[in-house]
């Protein structure tokens, strides 16, 4: 039988605020254990939460960015459970009345666009982190409370995702939106983004959902995709052999590339949610919402479409350039200074991306500002640098952070355009390759490139290829 999978994702994104959601402690990542704490996030007796307005604003941005509805009045609720990294014994979250409802994320897969609906977006605080050192003599666990009270939004999708690849594409699109709007760094590796998945399968054509399972503990987008693939296969196998899928929570084991049920004690069904009496209902006025809306940047999807229209770029180039807001900004700055959209796109998508990948850095960390890239391309365009030379210059700029002028001067990289010098090289090359010369003369005109290439090589990359080409033709005929 042919099956269809039904997937819904719950994404937790850390809001990019300086302070925690209910106290003034820093949210900085990587500080010494339990150093970023105060009586409030430690859950001391008698303390009270005070809502960080900035966190609300970022959450509002995210709701507007996916086209959702901001609820004028939402309510915080306590989610009650015991765990050592939850100092209060409850997490302040939103339950029955979340801040945002509705909206969608546009997902691109195999050249097709599809909207995945958003059920809700709500605000909540993060819990701490538990460490369980392993070893025979170790009979303790450690808790780091630094993360306690870090602001999160939970973004719950509709069960409208139909394949693991689509889930991956959804996460990519969502991450892009969160980064564009500066709501979250959305970096899954640093724990700024976490994703749980609900998945079920059903025979193709059937309307009712099958029994779902929940997948947790995936540490990357690829892990989400892989875990879904594994789980879908597991469910299909169960159903095909006449069994029934049990509704349960499963943990993804990255090392084993397999899922395993969570131990019963790690997980409890009844969180006894009730409205948080220490916080007033969260009311968002029209004015507030309007000011947030005004501060919203152009979203990735819109920017992609604009790049295609205004700069006449291909879908592929535009998608790559808008994959991150910083890259798109870089591109637009460079094009503003050197208005050759296609050439700038090529250089960024090929050369710049290669350096980013090699060095494992973000474009913000690249030592070549957009203006310098533009200056480099101008030189290339005016034939004062050859393509090869330009690449060499860029590599040096990436390494040293020096300007185009400085690198060119230092390397003595000036293109040779003196006709007398070039003519000497061309003559030498032509006489060195008699066979090719005869073929060319016999009509194999595509060998022009060969002669030009050899001449440039001979010159140590300095020869101006345009002039060389003219000289070759002069000697051998058109």
């Amino acid at each position: 039988m042919e099956y269809e999978s039904v997937i819904g994702l719950e994404v937790h994104a850390q809001l990019d605020t300086a302070a925690k959601i209910f106290c003034g402690c820093s949210t900085e990542f990587g500080a010494e254990g339990n150093s970023q704490t105060c009586p409030i996030c430690l859950g001391m007796p008698g303390v009270l939460p005070v809502l960080n307005k900035r966190a609300v604003e970022l959450a509002l941005r995210s709701i507007l960015a996916v086209g959702g509805q901001v609820q004028p009045k939402s309510i915080f609720a306590r989610k009650n459970y015991f765990y050592p990294d939850l100092p209060k014994g409850y997490q302040i979250s939103q339950y029955e009345r979340p801040l945002g409802t509705g909206g969608s994320v546009t997902v691109h897969l195999d050249g097709l666009a599809k909207r995945v609906g958003i059920t809700r977006i709500h605000l909540e605080e993060d819990a701490g982190k538990s460490f369980h050192p392993e070893g025979r003599a170790i009979e303790y666990s450690l808790v780091d409370v630094n993360r306690c009270g870090v602001p999160l939004i939970e973004i719950v999708s509709e069960p409208e995702i139909r394949s693991p690849e689509e889930a991956y594409a959804y996460l990519v699109a969502l991450k892009q939106i969160l980064q564009y709007t500066e709501v979250s760094r959305a970096d899954m590796e640093k724990g700024k983004l976490r994703c749980d998945a609900n998945v079920s399968v059903r025979p193709k054509g059937q309307k009712e959902f099958g029994t779902k399972t929940e997948l947790k503990n995936m540490n990357s987008f690829r892990a989400v995709q892989k875990a879904l693939e594994v789980e879908i296969a597991r469910q299909i196998k169960i159903i095909d052999s006449g069994g029934k899928v049990v509704q349960e929570t499963l943990l993804w084991d990255e090392d084993r590339q397999a899922v395993a049920p969570m131990r019963a004690k790690e997980f409890s069904d009844d969180y006894r949610y009730f409205p948080e009496p220490d916080l007033l209902p969260l009311e968002v006025s029209m004015d507030w919402l309007e000011s947030v809306r005004k501060g919203l940047p152009e979203l990735p999807e819109a920017r992609r479409r604009r790049f295609i229209e205004v700069f006449s770029l291909s879908d592929y180039d535009a998608s790559l350039l808008t994959s991150e807001r910083a890259i798109a900004d870089y591109y637009e700055t460079a094009v503003g200074l050197y208005p050759n959209p296609k050439m700038v796109a090529n250089w960024i998508n090929v050369e710049v991306f290669r350096f980013l990948k090699e060095k494992k850095i973000f474009i913000d960390d690249l030592k070549v500002p957009a203006a310098e890239l533009a200056a480099l391309l101008k030189k290339l365009d005016s034939s004062s640098l050859s393509n090869t030379m330009a690449k060499e210059v860029l590599a040096a700029m990436v390494e040293t952070g020096k300007t185009v002028e400085a690198v060119v001067a230092q390397k003595g990289l000036v293109q040779e355009s003196d006709e007398a010098v070039l003519d000497g090289w061309v003559r030498e090359v032509i006489s060195a390759f008699p066979k090719q010369r005869e073929s060319y003369k016999a009509g194999k005109k595509q060998l022009l490139g060969f002669f030009v290439g050899e001449t440039v090589k001979k010159s140590g990359g300095k020869a101006n290829p345009k002039l060389v080409s003219t000289l070759v033709k002069k000697h051998l005929g058109e």
Binding site: M44, G46, N80, Y273
Partner: protein, 485 residues
């Protein structure tokens, strides 16, 4: 001057200001009384003799140098051991916090210190403020100074007893369901519960967050005004704190009859006169009402039908919130942890079993139950709906009358052990006080006579939200009608 500790704060402040007495003398007179009767009554968990005297000396120096002093400069104030005091043990009357030293001061403590009050000690209480007799304390029961065979009421019984026995001039308690008004009534002193949000809850160890309110004890309503003015006010650390100032300072209206207009109308809720009200309390309150009427004020009977559900609604909401508020006492970070456990779950279970007393456990279990899946709608949600109806009824009735008047408690002080075996009987002692907490309005309990056994009885005046100052004005008026202990 002799017997300084028997005087009221407003009398003492003028003596202090004119330097007829010193803050050190005054503090010493209270400490001497604590020495004499403190152990027997078990009113304090911690006495702060050294820091109190140090503060008193500091205030005396300030006055002698002519430096400005705070509004309660040199006046001893005892605080319930549920208010966090930096570096001073704060137990909440519980074994589980017997070694807890808060790293910060509650906002009210900070305000008292800024007002140059002398914090004299931390008073005994029912564990986590759960109780009506101060018998549920891990540090033993507090006795009623009027009759040591009887309870002082609760949960702020230590503070009530301390004021009554002249161990302090003023005291703070907390009133979640009557925990200040009821002991005030049983001890024959005055106790005031301000509007919800008037006093910051920051640093008040939570029992039931939507009902808890720090509330003062004093010997009369004028003193209540003095300390309420000091402890109230907006606090950005408490999101439920109200922005308005409820007390107009400096206030001059406490001279003479306080100038309550004769058109003031008092409503007598008929639901307050039902079954369970002791005849002597009924008579005493009736007697006062007659005096109010004879003094020319309007008195009329009113009805608030939802009051009949008060106890049920209260014990659902307060236990629900408590079950969550007390989850943090898990043995992980502070407080007591048992030594012998096999795993995490057992550590929690054993720690909480050993650390909490029976009444606290009863309420945690009740509260967990009413919030559980499948029961939430039938209990918690329904209780919130009735609470909303009750708020509406109060708002309606306050369109017709300025105040509600009635008994504070159904009976005078009961004997130690009399109700400990019957929680429901104990809960019914709060029948007239809990509606105030559910609705969040201000209410004051003042003495209205003694019964044949010489035990005090109290009446309460309930006012509309944020009319705290007027409620105290009415209390002063009633006191001026010659209601004597």
């Amino acid at each position: 001057m002799g017997e300084l500790n028997r005087k009221k704060a407003w009398e003492l402040l003028s003596l202090l200001d004119t330097k007829e007495i010193s803050a050190v003398e005054l503090t010493q007179s209270c400490l001497a009384e604590i020495d004499r009767s403190g152990k027997k009554l078990n009113s304090f968990i911690t006495v702060l003799s050294d820091s109190a005297l140090e503060k008193a000396r500091e205030v005396d120096v300030k006055r002698s140098k002519g430096l400005p002093v705070g509004r309660l400069a040199g006046v001893p104030v005892a605080v319930k051991d549920i208010l966090c005091t930096k570096g001073v043990r704060t137990t909440c009357g519980s074994r589980i916090l017997q070694n807890f030293f808060p790293p910060y001061d509650a906002t009210v403590i900070r305000k008292l210190k800024e007002a140059d009050a002398v914090v004299i000690g931390k008073t005994n209480m029912d564990e986590f403020a759960m109780g009506s007799s101060t018998e549920h304390s891990a540090f033993g029961p507090t006795l009623n100074p009027i009759d040591p065979a009887r309870v002082p009421g609760g949960s702020s019984g230590g503070s009530a007893a301390a004021v009554t026995a002249h161990q302090t001039i003023l005291a703070l308690g907390t009133d979640t369901g009557g925990s200040v008004r009821q002991p005030a009534s049983l001890c024959g002193i005055a106790g005031f519960r301000p509007t919800y949000g008037a006093v910051s809850r920051y640093g008040l160890v939570a029992f039931a967050s939507s009902l808890d309110q720090i509330s003062p004890f004093a010997k009369d309503a004028r003193d209540l005004w003095l300390i309420s003015d000091v402890i109230s006010g907006h606090d950005r650390r408490d999101s439920t704190s109200i922005p308005e100032r409820l007390f107009d300072y400096p206030y001059s209206g406490f001279k003479g009859k306080a100038g309550l207009p004769k058109t003031t109308r008092f409503g007598i809720p008929k639901e307050f006169w039902g079954e369970g009200l002791a005849p002597e309390v009924r008579e005493a309150v009736r007697g006062t009402i007659d005096k109010v009427s004879k003094a020319g004020y309007e008195v009329e009977e009113v009805s608030l039908p939802a009051l009949s559900a008060g106890i049920a609604v209260y014990y659902i909401i307060c236990t629900a919130e408590a079950s969550s508020n007390l989850a943090r006492y898990d043995g992980v970070k502070y407080g007591v942890r048992v030594n012998d456990y096999a795993d995490l779950f057992e550590m929690y279970a054993k720690t909480r079993a050993a650390g909490f007393g029976a009444e606290v456990k009863r309420r945690i279990i009740l509260g967990t139950y009413v919030l559980s899946a499948g029961y939430y709608d039938a209990y918690y949600l329904k209780a919130q709906k009735v609470r909303a109806v009750m708020k509406k009824e109060f708002a309606e009735v306050f369109k017709k009358v300025d105040f509600l008047l009635g008994p504070t408690t159904p009976s005078a002080a009961f004997k130690l052990g009399e109700k400990t075996d019957d929680p429901l009987e104990m809960y019914l002692n709060d029948i007239y006080t809990v509606p105030v907490n559910l609705v969040g309005v201000p209410a004051v309990s003042i003495p209205c006579g003694k019964n044949r056994e010489g035990l005090p009885m109290g009446l309460q005046i309930i006012g509309p939200q944020k009319k705290d100052e007027i409620v105290l004005k009415a209390a002063i008026m009633l006191e001026s009608l010659g209601i004597k202990l």
